[in-house]
């Protein structure tokens, strides 16, 4: 678990005609970046500011205080309830390609010293689609937040409901919403962060149910797909349609936060909403044999 937090994999960056792992090419401005520099820059292009997608592992690695993350429900995996043609193979391929069990990682941890329940969706795993597993894990982490009286932070990145699970996927919108409703009734804060892309069923459920909704610059956010809309209205849509900035302008989200400022922004909001604090940093890091001054609580 801790291993991947220290050594994130770099699968999300596009590499073309470049020896793997050395150089990365920005899909937006075309600049070639020394891969190590890109990672050091949280995978934000140093030339144009383009935010490369992060896997769930990478997202947690750049957000959570080192050594504080404890994963939950890692053993919850997808079945094939509809016996939908090709689904079992797609799941196997996605597991092999990403090394992940499904499209979300959930657990407890701390962000800038505030203890939180966390979830990060993984677009690399079948487009971050929400089937029974994503729905179940989001519901469980929301319930766990209530149980431990912790705020919830969810990073969304999803193409929507997983059609290979049919109406069961659709019902995950209701299941996650019911759990988020209980979180709100327990008067616990819920911060929803929309990353590129957050669309379909995930926007029509937990992603748009946050007390505060944040988004990364340039993230695509919307309910219906761009192509479907263009076919319906028989018109081309402007480039900035359904971007994070477009959503901010239309009053749909609270703020657009560049990745390097995300941790501090979440930290500030969590402190404001009275998140329980970890024992002071010095106390945690105290060398063995030296007791912290007052137990650190």
């Amino acid at each position: 678990m801790l291993n991947w937090l220290r050594r994130p994999k770099y699968g999300a960056v596009e590499r073309r005609d470049i020896p793997p792992g050395v150089w990365a090419k920005c899909p937006k401005c075309g600049a070639t970046v020394y891969h190590r520099d890109l990672v050091r820059n949280l995978k934000v292009c140093p030339t144009c500011g383009f935010h490369h997608r992060l896997t769930a592992e990478e997202r947690l690695a750049v957000t959570v205080d080192e050594g504080t993350f404890e994963e939950h429900d890692a053993g919850v995996v997808s079945g094939d309830p509809l016996r939908f043609e090709g689904y079992a193979d797609k799941l196997r391929e996605a597991r092999e390609k990403t090394g992940a069990a499904d499209a979300v990682i959930t657990g407890l941890g701390a962000v800038e010293g505030s203890r939180v329940a966390l979830a990060a969706l993984d677009f690399a795993f079948m487009g971050g689609s929400m089937g029974s597993v994503v729905g179940e894990k989001i519901a469980r982490i929301a319930e766990r937040a209530v149980e431990h009286r912790l705020p919830l932070v969810v990073f969304s990145a999803s193409g929507g409901a997983r059609m290979q699970e049919g109406a069961l996927s659709l019902m995950q919108l209701a299941k996650t919403s019911a759990a988020i409703a209980r979180l709100h009734e327990a008067r616990l804060p819920y911060l929803s962060v929309m990353c590129d892309p957050t669309t379909g069923g995930v926007t029509a459920s937990f992603a748009f149910q946050g007390d505060v909704i944040l988004a990364e610059p340039g993230a695509m956010i919307g309910f219906a797909g761009r192509r479907v809309i263009e076919q319906t209205i028989r018109r081309k849509l402007p480039d900035h349609f359904q971007t994070a900035e477009f959503c901010l302008e239309h009053g749909l989200i609270d703020m657009v936060v560049p990745r390097p400022a995300m941790r501090a922004t979440l930290g500030r909001l969590l402190r404001f909403f009275g998140a329980p604090r970890l024992p002071a940093r010095e106390a945690v890091a105290a060398p063995a044999g030296e007791a912290p001054a007052d137990g650190g609580a």
Binding site: V76, F84, M163, A167, S177, F241, H250
Partner: protein, 331 residues
Amino acid sequence: MSAILPERDRAAEARAQELEARLAELSREIAGLRRRGEKEQLDVGRLIGDLEARADELRRELLDLRPAWQAVALARHPQRPKAQEIVAALIEEFTELHGDRLFRDDPALLAGVGWFDGRPVVAIAPRKGRDTRENLAFNFGMPYPEGYRKALRAMKLAEKFGYPVLSVVDTPAAYPGDAAEERGQAEAIARNILEMTRLRTPIAVVITGEGGSGGALAVAVGDAVLMLEHAIYTVIPPEGCAAILWRDAGRSREAAAALRLTASDLVALGVVDEIIPEPPGGAHLDPAAAIAAVGEVLRRHLRAAAGVPVETLLQRRYAKYRAMGYHEERA
């Protein structure tokens, strides 16, 4: 948690594709005969009649082989009883309410109050039109965010007075347009779903035609979710599913089967509580009987919910949705 469904009958699909090939062949033969008949001044009427009778036979067999596609066709049948007709027939002294108080009144979603089974109720229903003019006015049954917000306003009214909510659902989808996106289609649906999971009054839902994904669920979370026998309920239309999965919208018939969108599939999956039988051949052949059947089942469910304390109702509703889905657990 939902169970794994039994394997589908793939032999039936193979047979159906064979029939389709033969039907295509027959229609070529009929066209060929017709051309020859005209050219050579021959009387081919009887021959063509025989071939057409054979084609009809094959078409009937084809439908029976594809119950899911048959349901799709029936659910979308233009003469199927409309949600507003069901509301008008079942609810006495119905008074329509308009507007979301924020932007405008969305005619694609009907909301109002009236009497059902001697009790005051609040009714909500996305509505399709009976003809082109109505369909344009009702946006082919596809609500904008303001439609869902009007529905929520009506549901909050029901909650305030403890009246049950009765939702009649027949919508292909939430409207996929730029203005709908700008006004927060996703937010409107997300809010309705969340509020319906905790609305402090009984909710009875009946899916009478198309239950089209999030656009339907935004008015379809309830204590009792019922479905007409030939209605469908799906996460994505079969055409969209085929286009995405196989890049071939022509394979919609297969997608319809794969999606398990029929009433009996949904009962097996635990998504729907009860099937309301339709008159033989479908609700459009005897709308009055179909509407009466809907009324009878709704009456039973609302009477059963009437005596239940709200807290119990909410706990049951939570447990019901919390259990939906299928996953496996590894150590």
